[in-house]
Amino acid sequence: AQSVTQLDSHVSVSEGTPVLLRCNYSSSYSPSLFWYVQHPNKGLQLLLKYTSAATLVKGINGFEAEFKKSETSFHLTKPSAHMSDAAEYFCVVTAYNFNKFYFGSGTKLNVKP
């Protein structure tokens, strides 16, 4: 069975400091993993995805994530937060068949000036 645990429901950082959003997954198969961002009243936007190629994945807006199979983790990082990064972030794991997405419960990122 597939599942995702986002370890922090809220994260608050100061502008210009690093961001770390944590995600652990459970999967019966070699998974695909995604991070999506949701700004208020906007649709979900893909940040990056891991699909069994390089374990360090670079995405849009300076975000990256590292797939660690031994730790079953896929944490999202960014070296320097920007005010525009304030949003909710979802980690997603897919099932083997029919690309069924399993979403985490989300992490709300607050960026302080």
Binding site: G43, L44, K49, N99, F101, G106
Partner: protein, 115 residues
Amino acid sequence: EAGVAQSPRYKIIEKRQSVAFWCNPISGHATLYWYQQILGQGPKLLIQFQNNGVVDDSQLPKDRFSAERLKGVDSTLKIQPAKLEDSAVYLCASSLGSGIQETQYFGPGTRLLVL
């Protein structure tokens, strides 16, 4: 390239009324998904179509929810009758295929409030 379109964006109804949501996926995308996102939770898949056939509706409350995708393009999700707990954002997404590496592209959602 146009994204996934949804309408209406907002809907307020009384309990026991019916409501319908419409989705137009990205052109050429064979797979279409409807999700329910309750406040404070991640989206939950309700139903997945491959062209105009259903491949997964295991979490669709079939006594009150129905969905169709005629001609393998647009889709409609209906709730009849609505309950208070149906208050949520209903998201439509589409992908080119249904392979495990496919990216899903999401529409802006329809925010439903049931009073």
